[in-house]
């Protein structure tokens, strides 16, 4: 079988970016949560807030570190596998990615150290300020990356001259039509991720009765937050979808599994899209509902996938089902948040063990939803890389062979498997140790290194099993 460098490069990029994305998505939400905790401690002086802030800062340190390590590869991927695209889009993409890096470094250089290591060494107000700046910095980083991605989805403000994009208007290119929706959707997703993870961990601590006072506060706070955010996200997602309908109708058609342009389009609950047959092999849906959602009246016309020739259609099955996973998880999040409100009214929020167990499980849901959402938007624009202008095949590195792409794909899987295993394993240890004081003694002189991970002092294995050291 001939190895296809295009397919392998797409798989590699999908793998690397999916792996990388889960860390920043989490750290953006967590940075804001830390700022809130530090703010509450600053205002009330209640030590429970401080204990929570200290604990979650450790988790943040590990997650941030993992994000940086996995992100290094990203900055080289564009050149190794998509060199034609890199060269063509460099005038816009280069400054965007560089500003992201510059923001991240500026942040790390100036404020991250104070946030992670400065507690008790700088005035409390300064520490709070650093915490706010770290949170702001994560937004600015996301801003640049999403501007770059959104421009690839809805390219404006640039002109293609001799095979290269030239920026005619920075503001138009950065604030391109899909950017505001994507950015809002993504920031909310980050908050939901932070909220569900904190709620899940707090639920587990409540189940085993550890540090009950602080964890009740955290749990209650998160559930209020989720009660607001989960429905808001559904509304924002709807606007994002309408925006996509305007600019990338084929993507929306694939999300709906709608092959022919038609009015009174059903919302398919189940279907098996078959691109070869250009139809759904089976389908089951609610008549008119997709038209209602997308055009806001039942008789509205919804474009079909077949408006685009098969060569310009995305892999419909994947887009269709990724979309259903994302929406399904989003609805589950709303349901859980409402159940929390119900239990709160009944006064059973902290001792309903079934609900606490459920919240533990739900802490995985935002990660799956975020990945599914990115699958929808990224696979949904296939075969385009810069929508309507440059397709993936044109963008690929011409000298890349299938064998080379396969080698690095397997290589990155192996490398990331080790990194991921070590990181997640270590995170679970941090969580298991919880808000206990650190086991290892602190020494002020050696507390200054600014590497994020050194903010956590949890040993990698159980100390009891330590063999004699050679």
């Amino acid at each position: 079988m001939e190895l296809d460098p295009l397919l392998l490069s797409r798989l590699q990029f999908a793998f690397v970016v999916s792996f990388h994305a889960i860390f920043p998505v989490f750290s953006i939400g967590l940075a804001s949560y830390l700022a809130v905790l530090n703010g509450l401690f600053y205002r009330t002086g209640n030590p429970a807030w401080e204990r929570l802030a200290v604990f979650w800062a450790k988790v943040f340190a590990v997650v941030f570190g993992m994000g940086v390590v996995s992100g290094i590869v990203m900055s080289f991927q564009f050149g190794t596998n998509w060199s034609n695209f890199s060269l063509a889009a460099s005038n816009f993409l280069g400054p965007m990615l560089s500003y992201e890096v510059v923001t991240a470094f500026f942040l790390e250089a100036a404020f991250l150290g104070v946030l992670l290591f400065g507690r008790g060494k700088v005035p409390q107000g300064v520490h709070l300020f650093a915490s706010l700046m770290v949170a702001l910095g994560t937004f600015i980083s996301a801003f640049w990356i999403l501007a770059a991605n959104s421009w690839m989805q809805t390219p404006v403000g640039t002109e293609l001259i001799d095979g290269r994009f030239h920026v005619t208007s920075w503001s138009e290119a950065i604030f391109n039509p899909s950017f505001p929706y994507r950015f809002t959707h993504m920031v909310l997703a980050s908050f939901l991720t932070g909220g569900f993870v904190v709620a899940g961990v707090s639920a587990w601590y409540l189940l085993i009765g550890r540090d009950v006072e602080a964890n009740r506060k955290a749990f209650s706070m998160c559930l209020w937050l989720l009660l607001v955010l989960a429905p808001t996200q559904a509304i924002v997602g709807d606007f994002h979808g309408l925006n996509t309908l305007e600019h990338q109708p084929t993507k929306v058609a694939a999300m709906e599994g709608n092959w022919e342009t038609q009015t009174n389009t059903p919302l398919l609950l189940f279907a098996w899209p078959d691109k070869d047959a250009q139809e759904n092999l089976v389908e089951f849906g609610i008549p008119g509902l997709a038209s209602l959602i997308l055009t806001h009246h039942v008789g509205g016309e919804v474009p079909g996938i077949s408006e685009a020739p098969p060569s310009e259609q995305p892999p419909v099955w994947l887009v269709f089902w990724s979309f259903r996973v994302m929406v399904g998880l989003g609805l589950a999040m709303i349901a859980v948040a409402l159940a929390g409100l119900w239990l709160r009214v009944k006064g059973r929020l902290y001792d309903h063990r079934g609900f606490l167990q459920l919240m533990r499980l739900m802490s995985v849901s935002p990660f799956l939803a975020v990945l599914a959402g990115w699958f929808v938007t990224e696979i949904g624009r296939a075969p385009w890389l810069v929508y309507g202008v440059m397709d993936q095949a044109e963008a690929l590195t011409p000298s890349l062979s299938g064998g080379m792409a396969l080698f690095t794909l397997l290589g990155y899987i192996a490398v990331y498997a080790v990194v991921f295993w070590a990181g997640v394993y270590y995170l679970t240890r941090v969580v298991r140790q919880g808000m206990l004081p650190d086991l290892e003694p602190h020494d002020d002189e050696v507390e200054r290194p600014m590497r994020p991970l050194s903010a956590a002092h949890v040993p990698f294995e159980d100390a009891a099993n330590q063999p004699g050291r050679s």
Partner: protein
Amino acid sequence: MQMFDLSLIWALIIGFGVIMYVLMDGFDLGVGILFPFAPDDAGRDVMMNSVAPIWDGNETWLVLGGAGLLAAFPLVYSVFLPALYLGVFLMLAGLIFRGIAFEFRFKSHRNRHWWNRAFSWGSALAAFAQGVVVGAYIQGFAVEDFVYVGGPFDWLTPFTVLTGFGLMAGYALLGATWLIMKTEGRLQDWAYGLAPKLLVAVLAVFAIISFWTPFVDESVRERWFSHLHLIWVFPVLALACAALVWRAVRQRREGQPFIATLGVFVFTYLGLVVSKWPVIVPPDYTIWDAASAPESQLFLLIGVLFVIPIVLAYTAWTYWVFRGKVREGEGYH
């Protein structure tokens, strides 16, 4: 008309970033290369402690350089990375493994030997790959109409393998002289013993590469031998620094060997840059051919000029905080 030659400004910035990276990550990669040969495990702890607080700041320059190249000289980015495809992967894998080894080695006991291995192999691999990049740069790339058209292993030739080992030796020398400066006792004695051997190895590779390069690259031959050029200043200064390293090690100075080794690197680097200038994607493309649009260069320049001083100040402060000797049992967990 443009008031400033933005491509020139960017060439200076990227050039500065590259040498900052080579000098700073160079010694901590070097410490990693020497790591398995340390006299004992306590020595290994000290070695790692001596670079633990600063290594990731050092790698800042690599990422900044990568993103900066895409923005300022996209042709470099879109030719070097495809041409060095497999080498880039090996370098990144090496850097990642040694990066996480830094984090987890001190938190680990039972599995420590694995993290030791990840640290030393990762460092050696990354150093070798970077040396290969230098060799491939001297060799030049098969480029047609702004697109790399060579094969997947063009970068792997006897010449680039030599530059790969050469840079490993150079980094190891930086690492050894760094350890002379930062440690004492048995470990320092060991580093003192190692430095002259590494210096000899570096000079041997340096000599072979110097004789070989004119045969690999015509334009360099032209520039070196056509008339007596200012270029000859740089190898002379590099050799003078090497002599200084030798003398300082024999006199058991503590700071001088490291500083003089930095000099060897800086002058070798300048010699290379001046030999190639203004070609940035050899053999044909200059910095102006490789440049992005002026408005893009300008857009980023504003941010970078703001951030570089802050990163430099932060770096200087970190080094200041961690000045002085690293002792056994102290340091960073």
